[in-house]
Symmetry: C2
Subunit: 187 residues, 2 copies
C-alpha cells in the first residue's frame, strides 16, 4: 500500500518555517524569535500558528522532531528539516508566481471613504503611518549595520532594500497628502 504523502501544496507559513529550519534545528519558541527578527517584517504568523504548523511538517515528511528534556524548563520539541523538506522548500521558492501583491490595506480604505471623517483625524492617521515608516527605516538601517559581516546576507539584504524603498514611498505619499489637504483648505 503506497504511503500517503501530503500533496506538496505548502502554505506560506509552512514555507517560512521550513526556510528557517533550513538554517538549523529549532523549537517552536526558537522559531517565533527567529521569525520576529527576520521574515516577520513581511510574514509574521501568530505563535499558535507556528505550533500548529510544525506537526504537519513532520507528518508530511519535511521535518523530524525530537523531544529534548530540559532541567529547569519544560521539555521542548526540536524540529529538524529533512532532505525532502529542503526539496519542498526549493520547489516552493522557485514556483511561479508569488501571489500578487497583498491587496489589503485598511488605511487606504479609510482614506478612500475619507469624506465621512474629519480631515484632522485622517491626517493624524497618515502621520502615524509616516512615523511608522520612519521607524522602519531606522530599524532596517540598524540591521544593516549588524549585518556588516557580509557573508550569507545577500538575499536578506535585498528584502531590506525593498523595505527602504517601500518606507520612502509611503513617506513621500504622506507628504503629498499633507500638501493636498493644505491646498484644499485654502479653497
Amino acid at each position: 500500500m503506497p504511503v500517503e504523502t501530503k500533496t506538496s501544496t505548502l502554505t506560506t507559513t509552512e514555507c517560512a518555517v521550513l526556510g528557517l529550519l533550513a538554517r538549523g534545528p529549532k523549537s517552536g519558541y526558537d522559531l517565533k524569535k527567529a521569525i520576529d527578527r527576520s521574515v516577520g517584517y513581511f510574514w509574521g504568523p501568530a505563535k499558535s500558528q507556528i505550533y500548529a504548523v510544525l506537526p504537519s511538517l513532520v507528518e508530511a515528511g519535511y521535518a523530524t522532531s525530537r523531544t529534548v528534556a530540559q532541567e529547569r524548563r519544560p521539555d521542548k520539541e526540536v524540529y529538524r528539516i529533512t532532505a525532502r523538506g529542503r526539496a519542498a522548500l526549493r520547489r516552493w521558492v522557485e514556483e511561479a508566481p508569488a501571489s500578487p501583491t497583498p491587496d489589503r490595506n485598511p488605511l487606504l480604505l479609510k482614506i478612500f471613504f475619507g469624506e465621512h471623517a474629519s480631515p484632522e483625524i485622517l491626517l493624524e492617521q497618515v502621520r502615524a503611518r509616516r512615523a511608522e515608516m520612519e521607524q522602519l527605516k531606522d530599524e532596517l538601517n540598524a540591521i544593516e549595520e549588524q549585518a556588516r559581516d557580509g557573508t550569507h546576507d545577500f538575499f536578506p539584504q535585498l528584502t531590506r532594500m525593498y523595505g527602504r524603498r517601500y518606507a520612502e514611498a509611503i513617506i513621500g505619499w504622506a507628504d503629498d497628502v499633507e500638501r493636498k489637504f493644505e491646498q484644499r483648505r485654502e479653497r
Copy 2:
C-alpha cells in the same frame, strides 16, 4: 428586555461594503462590480464574502434590504444604508489606528530564502512583479483621465497617488535587484 445590538466592531469588509452603500443602494452583484472598480485595489473580498456580509449588516441595523422583482432576471436584494450605518462607518473611519501595514508578502519571503533557488528563476519573479507594477501605473493613469470631472474625487485621488508611489517603489527596487545580481555574477 433590551434589544441585542451587534457590538460595533465591524470587519474591514463590512466597512468597505458600508462605504459603497453610502453612495447609493446596491445589490450584492452591484457591490462586487463597484468594489472591483474602486476599493478592490486595496481591499478585494470574494463575491461570496460580500453576500455573507450583507445580511449581517441588516441584522446589525446598519442597512435595510428590499427584494426587487425583475422581469427577465432572478429577483434581487437591494441594500440601503441606514443612519446608524452611516454613524458606524464614520466611527470606523475615524477610529485609530488603521492596523499597521499588511505584513504579508510572499515574494519577499521567496527572495529572503533565495539561496535555495536558481538566480534566473528568482529574477523572473522580480521582473514579473515589476511588470505588474508598470501595468498598475497604466491603470491608475487611465482612471485619472476618466476622473477629470473632479468633483467627489479628492479622496479616491489620494489612494491613486499612493498606488503610483507604491508602484514606483517596487519598480525601483526591481531595478536594484537586477543590478545586485549582476554585480554578484561578476564576482
